[in-house]
């Protein structure tokens, strides 16, 4: 997805994991994913740079659809569609 598309994306659920470090954001994502339905979109906020690479790997394994990442100042917004 392009940056513009991501910016206009409406997430069904957002989880703020900026107060945690690896593997905190992954745990937060796993938990939040259990609370939404297939086809819905999850937004993960993380201040840990590694999460940017981790979430797509996790999404591939769990058959979710990684949509993209937006860089904000000091953190990242990562979008995943539940598979």
């Amino acid at each position: 997805m392009t940056t513009e598309e991501l910016t206009n994306l409406k997430a069904d659920k957002s989880v703020d994991a900026r107060g945690t470090s690896c593997p905190g954001p992954l745990l937060a994502a796993k938990k939040a994913m259990g609370e939404i339905n297939s086809g819905q979109i999850l937004e993960i906020l993380s201040a840990d740079e590694g999460t940017k690479k981790d979430i797509p790997k996790w999404a591939t394994k769990k058959k979710h659809n990684y949509l993209g990442t937006l860089e904000e100042s000091g953190y990242f917004k990562i979008y995943v569609k539940k598979g």
């Binding site: 945690t20 470090s21 593997p23 905190g24 992954l26 796993k30 394994k61």
Partner: protein
């Protein structure tokens, strides 16, 4: 007479099924070290894997076992001199582990704990609790326990704690897609 193409395909399919089922989405780990840094690595990998829905089995052996002792507990009765010595000199629980480098009589350890807190890295106690919630299995090597004279009542309360020998580890490792030694 040689096999027909169909027969060969059938054989291949059978073999493929066997191979596919032989390795589970499972991580088996030997945890041998009682270094704080290595223990941290072991638990971060274990919790991370569990978060990715991989089954995790940790085998605690030798020095690492002392890290699973309760912090404030009197030594169990009926120990001989060597067992008492091990019991006194080895760390009691996760909080007492030392860094493998730059420990500097505990100064380095306290510095790293401060940095971890600042960087929002979970403490070992928190990681152990999370591992428990996520269903990570921990087995303690009974042979090592006997060597050091540790008793079951000295071990932490952990939901999926078990006691086992090398065959359990080997069987679990054999069916795992990942194996680590830390």
């Amino acid at each position: 007479m040689s096999d027909t193409a169909e027969q060969r395909l059938e054989k291949l399919e059978k073999k493929f099924e066997e191979l596919e089922g032989s390795r589970k989405d499972q991580l088996t780990m030997v945890v041998m070290s009682d270094d704080l840094d290595k223990m941290l690595a072991a638990f971060i990998i274990a919790v991370g894997a569990a978060a990715m829905d991989t089954k995790v089995k940790m085998f605690f052996t030798f020095w690492a076992i002392s890290a699973l002792r309760k912090e404030h507990v009197k030594q169990a009765k009926g120990k001989d001199l060597t067992a008492k010595m091990f019991g006194t000199m080895l760390p009691k629980g996760l909080k007492q582990l030392k860094l493998s480098k730059m420990n500097m009589e505990g100064i380095g350890k306290h510095m790293i704990k401060g940095i971890m807190k600042h960087n929002n890295v979970s403490s070992l106690d928190e990681l152990l609790a999370t591992a428990g919630e996520l269903g990570v299995d921990i087995d303690i090597c009974t042979m090592s326990m006997d060597l050091m004279g540790f008793k079951k009542e000295e071990m932490v309360d952990y939901p999926n704690l078990g006691y086992a020998g090398v065959a359990t580890f080997l069987a679990d490792a054999g069916e795992s897609s990942m194996q680590l030694f830390i």
